[in-house]
């Protein structure tokens, strides 16, 4: 580490650091505790997911999408399945669309709860909010295990529907969880939202102006915290989201507190969506009968599909050349692109804030490095 001037200190935060949310490194130049320069370094978890998917068939790529953002495997599957359905022009039966919305919103609940828990952990609360969040997350993961067989690596969606139908018992358990989730959120907010130390540590910290957010392609709760009304569930209306009444929370200041509140308010909206979806889920097939399980050969062409994953806009860009393997398979990683503005937000703040700002962006290294 070069020692430029006597009082300038260069330290490397990561890749092995308690709060970089995975193997992520930041070359930070400090003057005392104030940040002068911050260069993120990626690549420690790079497995070349895209090359693997290009050498495998369309079906074989699905279990790999679980490992992109390994906290939200269901929404990753959905993004990829949506892209292939657009590419090959497959239809999805009604019940499957409803199940997709249900599991996606469940994923959003457990991801946002986890994110708030990790953010408080970075702020020094010794594990209490994280444990409350993870208690709820366990309940959601048990539902996923009941449905798809695995807690985190669900491998559940297929092109033209979902792999397994959900039993009425499963729907009852989901309804019970959704009913109790409101209570958990009230307790969580009582512990956190009014807390003066939390407000002092996050309000006015890591401010992201609206123009920079749009220009730097920040998407998801981070963008809406800066006041931009852009939620793909409302913009693209993919799946059957236009059938549900829910609102999109918007912040004004675009600082860490707003990003925290976005997650909490979005959890409340997801609970509303889940209640409506569970109420009017139809019966019927969950898989397009004529969709073939293996050996899918879409016609030559390309397609770009994107969904509102809990981290932001997760896009899949596929080019097919008629063979069973995709010619080009590209994942648009919301975590990586949201990190573009990390340095802009951290300049001038001190080192305790760098950790909090990184936590508020909510990255998962599996998706950043692919």
């Amino acid at each position: 580490m070069s020692q430029v001037a006597e009082d300038i200190m260069e330290i490397s935060m990561g890749p092995q650091h308690p709060s970089t949310h995975g193997v992520f490194r930041m070359d930070v130049r400090l003057e005392g505790e104030r940040v002068l320069r911050l260069k993120p370094v990626f690549g420690y978890l790079h497995r070349n997911h895209e090359k693997i998917a290009e050498n495998a068939s369309y079906l074989a790529a699905i279990p790999y999408t679980d490992r992109l953002d390994y906290l939200c495997s269901m929404t990753n599957n959905w993004g990829y399945a949506l892209a292939v359905e657009k590419l090959a022009g497959l239809a999805v039966p009604e019940r499957a669309e409803y199940i997709r919305v249900i599991v996606a919103e469940l994923t959003r609940l457990q991801n946002h709860a986890g994110m708030v828990g990790f953010l408080l952990q970075d702020m020094g609360a010794s594990g209490t909010p994280l444990m409350y969040a993870f208690t709820q997350r366990e309940k959601v993961l048990d539902l996923f295990e009941e449905l798809s067989g695995a807690r985190m690596m669900c491998n559940y969606m297929r092109f033209g529907g979902v792999r397994v139908d959900c039993s009425p018992e499963w729907l009852r358990q989901t309804a019970a969880l959704v009913a109790a989730f409101g209570g958990f959120l009230d307790e969580f907010e009582q512990l956190l939202t009014g807390n003066e130390i939390l407000m002092a540590r996050t309000q006015g910290v890591g401010v992201l102006p609206q123009e920079l957010a749009i220009n730097a392609g920040v998407t998801g709760p981070g963008l809406r915290a800066s006041g931009v009304n852009y939620d793909l569930r409302k913009v693209d209306r993919y799946g059957i989201y236009e059938r549900f009444q829910f609102r999109v929370p918007l912040g004004e200041h675009g600082d860490v507190f707003d990003r925290y509140m976005m997650r909490v308010l979005e959890m409340r909206e997801s609970v509303k969506i889940l209640e409506q979806a569970l109420r009017d889920i139809p019966s019927g097939p969950v898989m397009d009968p004529k969709a073939k399980v293996r050996g899918l050969r879409p016609k030559v062409g390309e397609a770009y599909a994107r969904i509102e994953s809990p981290k932001g806009e997760l896009g899949f860009y596929l080019i097919s050349d008629g063979t069973p393997n995709p010619y080009r398979y590209r994942v648009r990683p919301p975590s990586l692109i949201n990190l573009t503005v990390l340095e802009d937000m951290c300049l001038g703040q001190n080192i305790a804030d760098v950790v909090v700002i990184l936590g508020s962006i909510d990255i998962v290294m599996g998706e950043v490095d692919r």
Partner: protein
């Protein structure tokens, strides 16, 4: 039922009984030894119990068990921890300054045991009845910063240096409110001698004791004292020197094995010492809380109150996130310091006004106005405010 006094003085009479057997020539040495030995035994055992209590308390706060595998309900967990820290390899970084690196935990430990000399644990159970007991306590308390900086500097590690800088800045800046909040008590008691302070609070009016904490300025002083005590011992909302999530472990990052355990022992002993002083100044030392309870021995009351304060520390640690360095300093100098001065004024008003309701009203008025103004100052400086959010359809 045993006569109350006998049980109360059981340790004192035990000591005199043993003294009787020692030859006259070395009698003063043996008597000193007999007062030091219990302190060296009782408080490390209390440290062991507190680690279990802390981990089980934090566990239960987080809806999980705490350690419950080693021994019955996890009681033997500290033995396991001690064994682990003894057998762990003691790694010293190559570029470390070896002697200072080795001395740091020893200095911390020596300094951690000294304050117990002036703490009245029970009726005439005090190691050294100094006239300036409180002054001695604060003088010794200031040395622990030296050992923290020795540890941070000698490990030659950037994070430990950051941690050491933070530790020194924090301890020095919270020493001032600590002293000022105890000045009100010294003023009211009229003496620096801890035994006098406890005796001043010994009387009862009706069934309530004359504890200083039950007066308005005393309660505010006690709250201020405990906040700066948390900061002094680097415990939770103020555990910036060992901010795990920011600078990994602060000044004891390069310590492993038994030296690491010594740091923890030093920190916990500092916590017990400063809680002991808090009990002596505000909670009436070893006095009984209600008049009809005086038959319980005095030292049991001291340890009961100590246990209460420890539970308070654990409770706060389980709830609050950490402050940032500049907020910590602002809070000390711009909220705690003026508040402590107002407490002194309020204690003065309490002292010279006649008894009765007016005295209560005036001193609480002082405190309430000061609190309102200073709290608004903190909120505007940190720009914290409740927020409402709009929703798009």
């Amino acid at each position: 039922m045993l006569d109350g006094i006998a049980v109360d003085q059981v340790f004192v009479s035990l000591k005199h009984w043993v003294l009787g057997y020692s030859p006259a020539a070395i009698e003063p040495a043996v008597s000193i030894l007999l007062t030091i030995l219990p302190i060296l035994l009782v408080f490390p055992v209390l440290f062991a119990l507190t680690t279990v209590l802390e981990r089980k308390g934090l566990g239960r706060i987080q809806n999980r068990y705490g350690p419950n595998r080693v021994g019955f309900f996890g009681i033997l967990q500290p033995m396991a921890d001690a064994l682990k820290s003894l057998t762990k390899e003691d790694i010293v970084p190559a570029s470390a300054d070896r002697t200072v690196h080795f001395l740091a935990p020893l200095v911390l430990l020596a300094v951690a045991f000294l304050p117990y000399a002036v703490l009245p644990i029970g009726r005439n159970m005090i190691a050294a009845n100094l006239d300036a007991g409180v002054l001695f306590f604060f003088a010794i308390g200031a040395i622990s910063e030296l050992s923290v900086f020795m540890a941070g500097w000698s490990s030659r590690n950037k994070y430990s240096l950051l941690g050491a800088m933070r530790a020194v800045a924090q301890m020095i800046s919270y020493e001032v409110p600590l002293l000022l909040s105890s000045i009100a008590v010294i003023m009211a008691a009229g003496s620096l001698n801890t035994v006098d302070i406890v005796n001043k609070q010994a009387g009862f009016s009706g069934i309530f004791p004359h504890w200083y904490v039950l007066t308005p300025w005393g309660f505010a002083g006690f709250v201020l004292f405990m906040i700066s005590a948390t900061a002094e011992t680097n415990r939770s909302p103020f555990d910036l020197p060992e901010g795990e999530s920011e600078i990994i472990a602060g000044y004891y990052i390069e310590y492993s094995g038994f030296k690491f355990a010594l740091f923890f022992l030093g920190e916990y002993l500092g916590m017990f010492a400063i809680s002991g002083l808090g009990i002596t100044l505000f909670l009436g030392g070893w006095g009984a809380p209600l008049s009809f309870l005086t038959w319980i021995p005095s030292w049991i009351w001291f340890f009961a109150k100590l246990l209460g304060l420890i539970i308070g520390f654990i409770w706060v640690r389980g709830t609050l996130p950490r402050l940032r360095m500049d907020q910590l300093m602002n809070f000390a100098w711009k909220f705690m310091l003026p508040m402590a001065l107002v407490i002194v004024v309020s204690a003065g008003a309490w002292r010279f006004l006649p008894q009765g309701v007016t005295r209560w009203l005036i001193s609480t008025l002082f405190l309430a106005v000061a609190y309102g103004l200073l709290a608004r100052g903190v909120e505007t400086r940190n720009k914290i405010a409740k927020r409402t959010y709009r929703f798009a359809e």
